[in-house]
């Protein structure tokens, strides 16, 4: 299990790019954190492992 945005998800073994694709998110307009670290774009091929915490951040309306 990988914790994605606070929810457990069957994502171990997937790359970050595959996870984003499964969520229908565009990598170029998304930011990803693994644990406390911001993942840079060239590292989106990283394979997620069991127990990791992933945050997927994008833009929403705001003032």
């Amino acid at each position: 299990m990988v914790i994605v945005n606070g929810e457990p998800k069957e994502a171990a073994g997937m790359t970050v790019l595959e996870l984003l694709s499964s969520m229908q998110l565009k990598p170029e307009r998304t930011a990803v954190m693994i644990g406390d670290e911001i993942l840079s774009k060239p590292d989106y091929g990283k394979v997620l492992t069991d127990g990791e915490t992933v945050e997927i951040i994008g833009f929403v309306g705001g003032g």
Binding site: N5, G6, M23, Q24, L25, K26, E28, R29, T30, A31, V32, M33, I38, L39, S40, K41, E55, I56, I57, G58, F59, V60, G61, G62, G63
Partner: protein, 253 residues
């Protein structure tokens, strides 16, 4: 006449910064177009699925100004800014550091610290702040590209509650003063511009208006009117009357 708003070396013709919160996605495009806005603010949050990408509803060529809303400390603001940059939003960042949920008042001390961290990392920081001259000076020294004092609490539509203190910032600070938060009506935006504000940032006033597109237009015209009046120099104020028609040649006999 060339009258540009310059922030961090970037030139803008419009002095109306529009927030994108509280809108139906379908209405944002029209609101931005009719506002004539060249800068639009955004927030960053967790996204879980494709529920409508706001970026597709903002006209091309508009400068995106992500905010650090949700940050309670300078460190959190810095992290959100880095996430915004990673998500392809460029170097502009509106610093918002708030840990008061009732009035949503910004923490000027943490905001100044965030300003320094962000400026050192190549960002163009625009701090949202409570209009205090000393804090504004700290933010200038920390590398702010503009100062964004609040007119009234966020989303309150109360108008220029802090008017006299914003006036002090306009007098004393050499960076653009962008009045942010609390402006509820075009007349209030016009008043702030007349006294020399460099720009107005508004969101709720438009998003909660009866007709969003018409209100976006009204704000646009009010901001232009206020700016033009400021550049023209407003007329003097007297205690007594001063006749506008000649006081000679009366038709009596």
């Amino acid at each position: 006449m060339s009258d540009k708003l310059i922030i961090g070396g970037h030139e803008f013709s419009s002095r109306f910064i529009l927030g994108s919160g509280k809108f139906d996605l379908d209405l944002i495009n029209a609101a931005v177009e009719h506002a004539g806005a060249e800068i639009v603010t955004l927030a960053l949050r967790r996204v879980n699925s494709f529920s409508g990408n706001i970026l597709e509803h903002i006209p091309a060529g508009v400068t995106l100004l992500p905010n650090t809303s949700g940050a309670r400390t300078a460190e959190e603001a810095y992290k959100i800014a880095r996430l915004a940059r990673e998500a392809g939003c460029g170097e502009f960042i509106k610093i918002e550091v708030i840990h008061d949920s009732k009035y949503l008042l910004p923490d000027n001390y943490e905001t100044a610290k965030a300003c320094e961290m962000l400026a050192k990392d190549g960002f163009i920081p625009l701090p949202y702040m409570y209009p205090d001259l000393n804090a504004a000076r700290d933010m200038v020294n920390a590398g702010a590209a503009a100062i964004m004092p609040l007119a009234a609490p966020i989303g309150s539509n109360q108008g220029l509650a802090t008017k006299q203190f914003i006036r002090i910032l306009i007098e004393e600070i050499d960076l653009p003063i962008i009045v942010d938060a609390g402006i509820g009506k075009p007349s209030q935006a016009c008043e702030a511009m007349e006294m020399g504000a460099a720009a107005i940032m508004a969101n709720t006033a438009i998003a909660t208006a009866g007709n969003i597109v018409e209100m976006a237009k009204a704000f646009k015209h009010a901001i232009i009117a206020g700016r033009t009046a400021y550049l023209a120099g407003t007329g003097r104020v007297l205690d007594k009357a001063s006749a506008s028609s000649p006081l000679t040649g009366f038709i009596r006999e």
